[in-house]
């Protein structure tokens, strides 16, 4: 228990360190003109300190097991159950009249954001334990591909059309011809933004999926739960490709590489960091030392990814996948550690996401509507295809489509990663602020609609076995953060073994 606490402390150290950095502001940033009725620097700083401290304490409270139990009972994702207050708080703190999360503070909190993204990436990567993948039912891969690619394509195409239509350059007079304008708009940023939204469309929320699919039996629930875990990677792959092909820092950078080389840099960086983390934790003499080394490895990797303008989500997913497949007797404890701290980190991450979010632009809500419709449509189409090409245990296409419709929290991490990478490259222009609304608004809308439909169909299983111990990263998964929730096992059924424990 004390080790768990130490681990929590370690992560808190990193996050708070970065947060405390934000308190100091940037010494090299010129001081902007003081706004009217500006608070004194001391009052302002104190407000920032107290605001962030309040958020921090709230994150601890929201990570309480009671909140998680409520989530499981209702089949809600962390976003709807406890994430929304953090998003709202981030948005309110960002308002000039409140002035807690100012431009400088948000910009200085970026390391904490990268750290959080890295942590989530680790979780995604660690789902790829080949020993566990070997136990998947035949043709499960087909379901994963169908439920990733079709929603991705559907959302990307629909959103690209809307983004081109919403491009402010259309209104300018004396501009280029329609075809040239279309071409310019597409190549300026609409293609990139649409691909990013497509990346957010693929992942599905395991907690809702398990609850809905439970009506079709345990086997179906287990299968769908595993599909949702693997679905997350689609978004991560796309965001990795975007970062390789649309370089945001080419002007500043001393490295002049072709786009394809950036894919290798990303893969190489993830691989090196995975191996480094592995050697580091293998060399640890005690669990506190292991935690210290893990913390250092994640911070170093997050910093390197940020420095090279690569999404930490991607490098960490690669590192996590590598790490989980290497033999280490403490792997299970390590996975538990990562899962334990995930939830408070995710909530603090949502706070910063809320600060980056401006829901006031109507364009974002139009996009959100299109995104939800195209995504859910894509999921349903994918479900019909999956039923044909997938394993027999799958439920009927409507139930499958509905189960995979609720949006994964990884989607929000993906869009936040995207926006932070390209914000400095794009400046204040473009559709970046809308994308946050699209993804966050879309996630909330989808979940509400899916919950309502599922309950109306009577297909949402709210009966849970709360007494059963959780198993991190294996099926069934733990009750932590965005790590998926567990479909119930029949009474007396043996718990699944954790495969990597056999290879220590």
């Amino acid at each position: 228990m004390s080790v768990r606490r130490a681990q929590t402390v370690g992560v808190a150290l990193a996050v708070l360190s970065f947060a405390s950095r934000a308190m100091a502001g940037d010494p090299e940033t010129p001081v902007s003109a003081a706004p009217l009725a500006a608070p004194s620097p001391q009052t302002g700083l104190l407000r920032v300190v107290l605001g962030l401290a309040a958020a921090f304490i709230l994150a601890i409270v929201a990570a309480h097991p009671l909140v998680r139990r409520v989530e499981r009972r209702l089949g809600l994702t962390v976003l709807l159950s406890s994430g929304l207050p953090f998003l709202a708080m981030g948005f309110v703190f960002r308002l000039p009249s409140v002035g807690v999360l100012t431009d400088d503070v948000v910009s200085d909190l970026r390391p904490a954001l990268e750290f959080g993204l890295g942590w989530l990436g680790f979780v995604v990567g660690m789902h790829f334990d080949v020993r566990e993948l070997d136990t998947l039912a035949p043709k499960t891969g087909n379901v994963v591909v169908a439920e990733s690619v079709i929603p991705f394509v559907a959302a990307a195409v629909a959103c690209a059309l809307v983004l081109i239509g919403l491009d402010p350059a259309w209104g300018t007079t004396g501009g280029p011809s329609f075809h040239e304008q279309l071409y310019l708009s597409f190549h300026r940023s609409s293609l990139r933004d649409a691909l990013a939204l497509g990346a957010c469309a693929a992942p599905a929320a395991p907690v809702a999926a398990a609850a809905i699919a439970r009506s079709s039996g345990n086997a179906a629930a287990q299968l769908i739960h595993r599909v949702t875990l693997l679905n997350d990677v689609a978004g991560v792959v796309v965001i990795g490709l975007i970062c390789a092909y649309f370089r945001p820092t080419d002007v500043l950078s001393a490295w002049k590489l072709p786009h394809i080389a950036w894919i290798f840099v990303t893969l190489g960086l993830g691989g090196v960091l995975g191996i480094l983390t592995y050697i580091l934790i293998r060399s640890a003499r005690s669990q506190p030392e292991e935690m210290a080394l893990l913390l250092g490895a994640i911070a170093l990797s997050a910093g390197m990814s940020g420095y090279l303008a690569i999404s930490p989500l991607v490098t960490f997913a690669i590192a996590g996948a590598l790490l989980t497949n290497l033999p280490h007797k403490g792997m299970r404890a390590l996975k538990e550690t990562i899962a334990t701290v995930e939830r408070p980190l995710y909530l603090i991450f949502l706070l910063v996401a809320g600060a980056l979010w401006d829901p006031r632009a109507w364009q974002g809500w139009v996009l959100a509507l299109v995104f939800v419709l195209s995504r859910v449509g894509g999921k349903l189409m994918g479900a019909h295809l999956a039923k044909r090409v997938g394993p027999e245990d799958l439920p009927d296409p409507d139930t499958l489509g509905l189960a995979l419709s609720a949006q994964s929290p990884i989607a929000i991490a993906t869009i936040v990663s995207y926006v932070t990478i390209y914000k400095s490259a794009d400046g204040s222009s473009g559709a970046l602020p809308w994308l946050m609304t699209t993804c966050i608004g879309g996630a909330v809308l989808t979940e509400i609609v899916v919950q309502l439909i599922a309950r109306a169909r009577g297909g949402l299983s709210l009966e849970r076995d709360m007494s059963r111990p959780s198993m991190v990263f294996s099926a069934p998964p733990p009750a932590v953060g965005i790590v998926p929730e567990t479909p119930s096992l029949p009474p007396g059924a043996p718990l699944p073994r954790f495969p990597s424990d056999d290879h220590s």
Binding site: S2, V3, R5, A6, T8, V9, G10, A12, L13, L16, S17, F18, A19, S20, R21, M23, A24, D26, P27, E28, Q42, L46, V49, L50, A53, F56, I57, I60, D108, L109, R110, P111, E114, T249, L252, S253, A254, W255, V272, L276, I279, L280, S283, P288, E289, M291, A292, L295, G296, A297, A299, L300, A302, G303, M304, G306, Y307, L308, P344, S424
Partner: protein, 437 residues
């Protein structure tokens, strides 16, 4: 050793690669801080292990690592990154102070209270008198004091003497943790350095007020300074007690994610305390003392939670301190700095000998305790910065000498204390006690 060297090489190569991505003076906002934090933590831990094979304290390795990777030598961690990471120290200091307070059980220390008070009191007075006298004697040779009259030279000497008389609770606690020491020597030394720390804060404020008056630095009157001092010290202690109550309530009522909560408290006291003109170190020390001595919550339980995470805290804390050491400054005042350090060491050793005689410390402890008083770090550096800031005329020169001397004490002190602890037989006793349970 080979594994650690290999890992250190990989980490160095990684940061060198990352730093080559952008031109030298360009740094992406935010990413630099994360990169520096990760690098400093990993490299310091490896260096600490490498250094420990030569029977040197790990924290000397942390300091060396920070110094070599810092702006003075390799510049992997730039001046700006050091600035970003210095804020880590505020949280770390709070955590260390809370641990130190939680270690000090008055009831358990009562038999040693006389020794602690006598050693602390005599050491501080001796160090203050001897160092100030030495600085005064050398004042003709110090360029920033050469043109002053005797009165002003006395004031400057007193100021420098006060800063150099400061001890280091952080180094002491870090070494006790690192060596797993437990016993009367560790407890006495910790008690002395905490007490001396309080005394130095009082003394510096008084001397600062004198200097303000003498140099007409635009400071407040002595009465005003005294009032501010009272608010600063007693306000910090009172706020610490409030924090102690909050922690106790949290532990009793919620008792979940305690360590995370403690971190939040340290963060809050570090950041808000400074804005409210309160001392985060005193606040957390007072909170730890309150919990250990005035509540039924075991300070030991709290410390146990925090202790497990002390490794990254100490590694980053001391590596950042190492990165803050400026070789060019040290080179310019090396002779004076080494001279002042030697004089300080002699004064403290003499003071400790008298103090131990008055306090009737058992003979077997007398060989070890004085070495626990030689280290310097955060407080002395903080006071040196204040000297530079408050007195633009001579402050720069004085603080340069002070930084140089602190650098020597920071490097040499821990080595001597670690060896003394090992020789005394207290090292490793904490694990033995824990194992026995």
């Amino acid at each position: 050793m080979i594994r650690e060297t290999f890992l250190l090489t990989i980490v160095v190569m990684l940061i060198a690669a990352a730093r080559s991505f952008l031109p030298d003076e360009t740094s992406l906002v935010g990413s630099g801080a994360a990169l520096a934090f990760g690098f400093v933590l990993l490299a310091a831990l490896q260096t600490g292990t490498i250094v420990s094979t030569a029977k040197l304290p790990r924290l000397t390795g942390y300091l060396l690592c920070g110094f070599i990777a810092g702006p003075s030598v390799l510049n992997f961690v730039t001046e700006r990154m050091v600035g970003d990471l210095k804020l880590v120290n505020n949280v770390a200091i709070g955590l260390i102070a809370l641990s130190a307070g939680g270690e000090l059980n008055i009831k358990r220390l009562r038999p040693r209270l006389r020794a602690i008070l006598s050693i602390g009191g005599v050491c501080i007075v001796t160090a203050l008198v001897v160092i100030s006298g030495a600085v005064f004697a050398l004042s003709r040779f110090l360029p920033f004091m050469a043109d002053m009259d005797a009165y002003h030279r006395i004031i400057v000497s007193l100021t420098m003497g006060t800063v150099l008389a400061a001890l280091s609770p952080t180094v002491t606690l870090a070494l006790i943790n690192e060596t797993g020491s437990a016993g009367p020597i560790s407890e006495t030394v910790l008690g002395v350095v905490v007490l001396a720390d309080l005394a130095i804060i009082f003394t510096f404020a008084a001397v600062n007020a004198l200097a303000n008056a003498a140099f007409a630095a635009g400071g407040e009157s002595i009465g005003g300074v005294a009032r501010e001092l009272m608010i600063h010290i007693f306000g910090s202690l009172a706020m610490g007690a409030v924090l102690g109550i909050i922690i106790a309530l949290y532990m009793k009522k919620l008792n979940a994610r305690i360590a995370l909560f403690i971190f939040g408290i340290c963060f809050l006291s570090a950041e808000a305390g400074v804005r409210l003109h309160l001392d985060p170190l005193l606040m957390c020390l007072s909170a730890g003392l309150f919990l250990e001595n005035l509540t039924d919550i075991e300070g030991g339980k709290l410390i146990h939670d925090i202790e497990a995470a002390s490794m990254p805290v100490f590694a980053v804390f001391f590596a950042v301190a190492g990165a803050g050491l400026h070789w060019d400054i040290f080179r310019s005042v090396a002779v004076i700095a080494i001279g002042l350090s030697v004089i300080r060491a002699v004064a403290l050793l003499l003071g400790a000998r008298f103090g131990m005689a008055i306090g009737q410390v058992p003979a077997e402890q007398r060989r070890t305790i004085p070495y626990g008083l030689l280290s310097q770090s955060g407080i002395a550096i903080g006071l040196s910065v204040l000297v530079e800031k408050h007195f633009p005329g001579w402050g720069k020169g004085a603080s340069t000498c002070l930084f140089g001397a602190v650098m020597v004490n920071e490097m040499v002190g821990p080595v001597l204390f670690r060896n003394a602890l090992v020789k005394s037989g207290e090292a490793g006793r904490k694990e033995a006690v824990a194992g026995g349970h």
